[in-house]
């Protein structure tokens, strides 16, 4: 058996003459495309834009919190800024980023399909997403909204004069993009797998996107309903959430979290899929315990629907329902722990290299472990009383979402960048950025756990002076973190023109997407592939090394 797999000599690799990128030219060929890969690029551009808008808001928040007084932003401006940060980052970055960019690009490639099941609906999803985003941005230009991303009633329905209706409608419209994307993926995964691609030969990436898609389809309608009710309450006063009319203000939070808790799994599950792919490739091994990882994705997807009221332990819900929700929340932590251990065990007796995607993956494992374990603090009912609505929750959420999801997305983006663009990013810059990001992230968010236990409430524009030191640490970390996000933006853009030519399979990775040229043809596979081996079969790949991977063009 062959020994080490070295990267192909990239000086001899050349860009294929025809690919999805140069088949057609012109703005129209992009804006009316039905190619899943081009739609993924459209999403990537839109989402990157929203990420940096949301990031600018985060920068303002951290600047304001440098001092205990409201000296940079007035209280109402601060409220609008953190609301904008939350709304943009959750609904226009975290929820769509991994499914819409990586999922759109990779799902058909990984299962050996030519496109998603409904290419036109796929394009429609992008337009819905962009329309929702434009509504949101217009709303912000015309005064913004200060509900927070949670739209808590009756504050949002009766007590604010800001653009609540527009904000809710923007999310409503973008929600349909999620539903349609989820539907598209479900049908694609069910119906369009290549011959021989059985369920247990699917990459784990597909399993986690499958679970994500289910949540999209089942949970998103609920927030759509909840937000429509908020709008109706504001416009015609239907009173569903108004105690004076016999409504229940807590009902909104039940509906909101019935979506928004599964939604955090929408945000993290795709990240888990990415990590499985990257770990396997850079350890040159099958993922340890494939079935356990696959079924833990499904388990997370199912359990995620039965934990929502853990956001409401202190809100006077029945103690017995609180017990059930606490128990379910503890149970949902188990599949996440299983995944963490399986990824770590994959490294055992591997042959590990530490390129940028792997560095991000290692960062992910550490940060997600902290994020997950602090979730257990919050699931523990008595502890939650002290910690909920404080910076502990903020820190926990950011560890899971930014430390987990965004790190995983960065891993995925770097890993598949050569496949998407046909060119490599500069490796040393990538490693530096990964380390900066990890350092900055910890410096930003770790002090917030301590602040949370001290009792500092979230969403405070001003705070008692004894909390300042930790806040200054956090703000200092945020500047480092900002560098960690700006660097990839710069060098990835640079690499579009100047990056080394990648070749079909620069990582010598297993998986159908690596068997075709980079960047792929519009129709992906010139001949429908027939799958004869399971995912991550690096032994098979090693034996196949001698024969050239076919390239067209």
């Amino acid at each position: 058996m062959s020994t080490i797999l070295s990267l192909p000599d990239q000086s001899t690799a050349s860009l294929p003459k025809v690919s999805y990128l140069n088949k057609e030219y012109g703005l129209k060929s992009w804006l009316l495309t039905q190619d899943h890969k081009r739609i993924a690029i459209l999403y990537l551009i839109a989402i990157t834009f929203f990420f940096f808008v949301g990031g600018a808001m985060a920068a303002l928040i951290r600047l304001e919190l440098l001092t205990p007084q409201t000296d940079l932003l007035a209280a109402d401006t601060y409220n609008k800024v953190f609301s904008a940060h939350g709304i943009i980052m959750v609904f226009f970055f975290l929820v769509p980023v991994a499914p819409a960019v990586l999922g759109n690009f990779l799902i058909p490639l990984m299962i050996g399909a030519r496109d998603v099941a409904f290419p036109k609906i796929n394009l429609l999803s992008w337009y819905l997403f962009v329309s929702g985003g434009c509504i949101e941005l217009t709303m912000m230009v015309f005064g913004g909204v200060d509900t927070g991303w949670t739209f808590t009633t009756p504050l949002s329905t009766h007590y604010l004069n800001t653009n609540v209706v527009a904000a809710a409608m923007g999310i409503f419209v973008a929600g349909f993009s999620s539903i349609l994307t989820g539907l598209n993926f479900l049908v694609t995964i069910h119906r369009m797998r290549a011959p021989g691609m059985t369920w247990f030969r699917l990459p784990l990436f597909i399993w986690s996107y499958y679970a994500t898609s289910f949540i999209f389809v089942l949970a998103t309608p609920v927030i759509a309903i909840a937000l429509v009710l908020v709008v109706l309450e504001r416009i015609i006063g239907i009173g569903v959430f108004d105690p004076a009319k016999g409504g229940d203000p807590l009902l909104f939070q039940h509906l909101f979290w019935f979506y928004s808790h599964p939604a955090v799994y929408v945000m993290i599950l795709p990240g888990m899929g990415v990590i499985s792919e990257v770990v396997a490739c850079f350890c040159r091994k099958r993922v340890f315990g494939y079935t356990a990882v696959a079924f833990s994705s499904v388990a997370i997807g199912v359990f995620s629907f039965f934990v929502w009221a853990h956001h409401m332990f202190i809100m006077g819900i029945s103690s017995y329902s609180a017990l059930v929700f606490s128990l379910m929340t503890m149970l949902v932590a188990v599949p996440s722990a299983i995944k963490i251990f399986n990824w770590s065990a994959t490294m055992y007796k591997g042959s590990i290299t530490f390129d940028t995607p792997m560095l991000y993956t290692l960062g992910f494992i550490g940060l997600f472990t902290i994020g997950g374990l602090t979730g257990v603090f919050l699931a523990s009912m008595g502890m939650d009383i002290h910690l909920t609505e404080t910076y502990f929750v903020v820190a926990h959420f950011h560890f899971v979402m930014v430390g987990g999801m965004v790190t995983a997305f960065m891993a995925g983006l770097h890993f598949w960048w050569p496949k998407i663009t046909g060119r490599m990013y500069p490796e040393s810059m990538g490693r530096i950025a990964a380390v900066i990001l990890f350092t900055g992230f910890n410096l930003t968010f770790f002090p917030q756990f301590i602040l949370g236990y001290l009792g500092m409430p979230r969403r405070y524009a001003a705070y008692p002076p004894e909390f300042q030191v930790l806040n200054v640490f956090s703000s200092a970390g945020a500047t480092v973190l900002a560098v960690g996000y700006l660097l990839p933006l710069l060098y990835l853009t640079w690499s579009l023109k100047y990056g080394k030519i990648a070749g079909a399979n620069p990582w010598q990775a297993a998986g159908l997407e690596w068997e075709i040229q980079s960047p792929p043809l519009t129709e992906n596979f010139p001949v429908t592939p027939i799958v004869t081996h399971e995912a991550y079969d690096y032994e098979w790949l090693a034996s196949k090394k001698g024969s050239e991977v076919p390239t067209v063009g």
Partner: protein, 359 residues
Amino acid sequence: MHSISPVLWQFLIKWLTNFAIFPPEASTIAPYADALYFFLILISLVGLIAVVAMVVTFAIRYRQEKNPVPTPIEGSTLLEATWTIIPLILFMVCFVWGALLYFRIYSPPPNAMNIYVVGKQWMWKAEHPGGQHEINALHIPVGRPIQLTLISQDVFHSFSVPAFRVKREVIPGRYTTVWFEATTPGVYHLFCTQYCGTLHSDMIGWIYAMSPQDYQAWEAGSTSGNSLAQSGERLFAALGCNSCHNSGPNAHGPNLANVFGSHLQLKNGQFVTVDDAFLRDTILNPTLHEVAGYAPIMPTYQGQVSEEGLIDLVEYIKRLDSQYRIEQTIENSAAQPVQTGTAPAETSAPALAPGTVKQ
């Protein structure tokens, strides 16, 4: 020191002298909460160290230079079971421990002294039964369980005292309760932790935990002169409640003496226990719970009584423990001193007692 700018120097000094890292433990609950916190930190550290140790060891031992040929491994059911069951057991311990703590925090002892707190944009109003009214402050004695009955006049707020490790959402249209027993005299932060609009971060105050002597002195010196029950009595007359609820032979409404804590049968056959929430609901929305044996003729008082007024009424009805008090109400004037003025706890005890007995 010349190289450090004086501004920066001042900053450092200020920081070092005013830098919190752990909140004070000032209630009977706090040590229990902290014990669970340290346990959770412990298992988190164990978990984190286990994962980091695995990752770092493997990263060093199986790096490509050292281990060029990977060994294919399918997986291991035994290991899979191990790292399913061990976290599961640990999480179950956290669940049980957390649940026990939850019930400890949210089950007030029967002898707790009740204080009402109304949250509104953006202030806290505390109403002591003895007629002391405070804004953004709450004076309490140490060594005595205090129960707060909380309600919001507008949006959701949340009453949080980090030093006591307690927090409770303050909800519009619904009473919630929380209790604590302060152990150390001192001044502690009170925060609103539920985002409630523009000046959310100004909805803060102080809890003054005082020794019993200091508290008595404060109590005597700060009363408005009318206990809540006395204010409620006046409101009861002013709103004309006593024209029906007068226990006379031709009364249209039920006699309210001893009604607090009793079991009532509703028209739909259900039984309810009369508590603060039931009284508040029936004043605002009388048709919500129609009591068997009475025609639904009571008008709604929605929009006519403030939350503070409702608290006064509830407090008054709570203390109606004899026929005599109602008859007095009819011709009552403010001149009559009632025994509830100075020592609220003594009078609240008999009012609560029948309720607890009947249950």
